[in-house]
């Protein structure tokens, strides 16, 4: 399934805030963000967490037990953000 408009917006935030050498379109919606895949590490996730809190008002904690699931892909991260976004 192709990336939705929301997912594209989030992909752009990831590329910009982490200074990645790729375009937002190149982030596969279902590919893992951690390790293999985008190759992000724990410091990147902290950086991204703060960027997301500023942009979407959603708090992501580094010690959240669900982090592996939340950050498993662009799609799951976007779903988490949309669910927890202040209405």
């Amino acid at each position: 399934m192709a990336a939705s408009a929301q997912e594209k917006e989030l992909a752009q935030l990831i590329v910009t805030s982490l200074n990645l050498e790729m375009t937002a379109d190149e982030i596969e919606p279902e590919a893992p963000l951690y390790g293999e895949g985008l190759g992000l590490d724990s410091i990147d996730i902290l950086e991204l967490s703060l960027a997301i809190s500023k942009t979407y008002g959603v708090q992501l904690k580094s010690d959240d037990a669900d982090n592996n699931k939340i950050f498993s892909s662009l799609r799951s991260l976007n779903e988490h953000i949309q669910q927890h976004r202040p209405k």
């Binding site: 050498e21 410091i43 950086e47 960027a51």
Partner: protein, 205 residues
């Protein structure tokens, strides 16, 4: 009093126009999450190591780094970010000059003693480094991003046979080409110019 042989050097005030491309080539990728000051430091240190013909630092070598203004720019960025929110984590880490020491350690595949001395003079940096230096020698650097940038490094090994007393060396000339050995005595620097009055390895034999 300690005398050092200069095995590698990077004297770049300012660095060449292509330094960022050169750094990306040496690292295999463009660094994406460090600031200009740390990038300049990496560029100079890796250039110096390449000139010395060394891929990795020996475990008993030490890295000593000095700077006049250091992470000034990163600090200003973080202070601006702090106006209405927390700073970005990577921006905050960049305010700590010791991050460059860790980057160098990782890049050189090395674990060992490294230290940052803030705002002093190059000869004072060498003095402190010399007092702790072991057989593995020093990777000694001076990095600033103000006024066009500067990244100056020496790979120094202790000892080396030199004849005579050398010539007095101004602190800002420590990294400049033209001498093969340098001596630190208290706070005074002496240089032993290439060619003249040096026994070197051949002479020692």
């Amino acid at each position: 009093m300690k005398t050092f042989a200069i095995r590698g050097r990077c004297a770049a005030t300012p660095p060449p126009q292509s330094w960022r491309e050169e750094l990306a080539r040496m690292l295999g990728a463009r660094p994406r999450r460090i600031g200009t000051w740390a990038e300049l430091g990496l560029y100079g240190a890796l250039t110096c190591m390449a000139e010395a013909g060394e891929q990795a630092l020996p475990p008993d070598a030490q890295i000593w780094l000095g700077s006049e203004r250091g992470t000034y720019a990163a600090t200003a960025t973080v202070m601006a970010q702090m106006q209405d929110d927390l700073p970005m984590p990577l921006a905050f880490l960049q305010t700590q000059p010791s991050q460059l020491l860790a980057l160098l350690a990782a890049q050189l595949g090395w674990n060992g003693h490294a230290c940052f001395v803030a705002g002093t003079e190059p000869q004072a940096l060498l003095r402190l480094a010399a007092a702790q230096c072991g057989a593995g020698g020093l990777l000694l650097g001076w990095v600033d991003e103000m006024q066009g940038g500067a990244t100056n490094w020496l790979r120094l090994l202790p000892g080396g046979e030199v004849a005579g007393e050398g010539v007095a060396l101004a602190a800002d000339q420590l990294f400049a080409p033209g001498h093969t050995h340098v001596r630190i005595d208290g706070m005074s620097l002496r240089a032993f110019p290439s060619g003249a009055a040096i026994l070197g390895e051949q002479g020692a034999r």
